[in-house]
Symmetry: none
Subunit: 122 residues, 4 copies
């Protein structure tokens, strides 16, 4: 597993993004038990406290459920995962549009442009 952490952003925040992505993409399925904090921390070469903080964030957002005695599990509510996915997607779309507008493209034209490019790729 490539964790690829850099020192630009807080480590815990980068971990949140990675694990969130793994949940959304199904690497960790709904209801699946996550590895222990210690194991994950070791994998990522990170202090367990840091990993703990990251997982707490994910619990706040509802993607992870902690069962005191048995560990952490991915939520079984597909709805939660779907929401997270939509939120990330919305972020991607808006930052994408910001970049395109810096390049001087009007919102109205971007859709047309995308269709052009997709057509060329085929």
């Amino acid at each position: 597993m490539a964790w690829d952490l850099d020192s630009d952003r807080p480590i815990y925040s980068q971990i949140v993004d990675i694990v969130q992505m793994q949940i959304i993409s199904g690497t960790y399925a709904p209801g699946e038990k996550l590895p222990s904090v210690r194991l994950l921390a070791a994998e990522a070469s990170v202090n367990p406290n840091t990993m703990q903080k990251a997982l707490s964030e994910l619990e706040k957002s509802g993607l992870i459920i902690t069962k005191r005695t048995s560990g952490r599990f991915v939520t079984e509510e597909h709805e939660m995962i779907g929401q997270a996915r939509k939120k990330l997607a919305a972020n991607e779309v808006t930052t994408f549009f910001e970049k395109m507008e810096k390049l001087g493209f009007e919102k109205e034209n971007i859709l047309a442009l995308i269709q052009d490019i997709l057509r060329e790729e085929q």
Copy 2:
């Protein structure tokens, strides 16, 4: 001028991107003379050789014309600038689609999604 260089990527490459963006966005107009290598290097707090390497790249790509004794100028061929703009846009579109596909969206659905989001923003 905020050059905002980090150590993740080669500095000269970041400079290429920044100056390219300035040309495309019109900060430097077609035909306009660029500041001298030494001045730009001082501005960016970078060695003149590094700045030179960046500008040489831009010359190879056709965005900049060097006149030996009088300085460097933005090309007057709007065509070249338009091409660079299109190339950047195409990159943005493809990386955007890659990210969205990681999030589990099919190409066909992305267009629909964008339209939804744009409608909500209004």
Copy 3:
């Protein structure tokens, strides 16, 4: 190896020509590993940076492939080498014709002249 560099033209440019010639003539075979930058630089009594600049040019032109940690290799695409050979040949032919025209020969007569001379040489 005689590098025979003079100060009329940029050294790196002369090196480009020499190595290019070695590749075309087969001194370095397709797929063969080139000596390291530092070694070549020492051979040519040149700064490693200068040699690097020359080899980078050759990489841009496609004759050389760089594998980051293991070295530089002559391309295995005979097509690329053939193209370079053709380009050099075309240059020779055109400069030859320019000289001959300065001497007052018409294009149509040059072919005939060449045939005469070749016949005499036999």
Copy 4:
């Protein structure tokens, strides 16, 4: 007049080539009087002795005739000029073939190649 002398070869020898070329190409017509040694030397930014030596060479080869009291003249024998022209042309042809053979072209193929290139140029 661009004399373009470099320090690779003896200056007088370079001057011989240049003046010879001017005679062959008709810049100096058969029978025409050449400027004085002093004037030519000044033009070429060269010591008059050097110019003198160059012109003596040309006299030996028969291209120039010295008339003691009135100056130097281009020969009126078109034959002489024609021979010089042929000799230069022959040199060009042979050095051209040497270069092409270094590039791996057989004599037999060069003619065909030239015809190809000339056809493309049209």
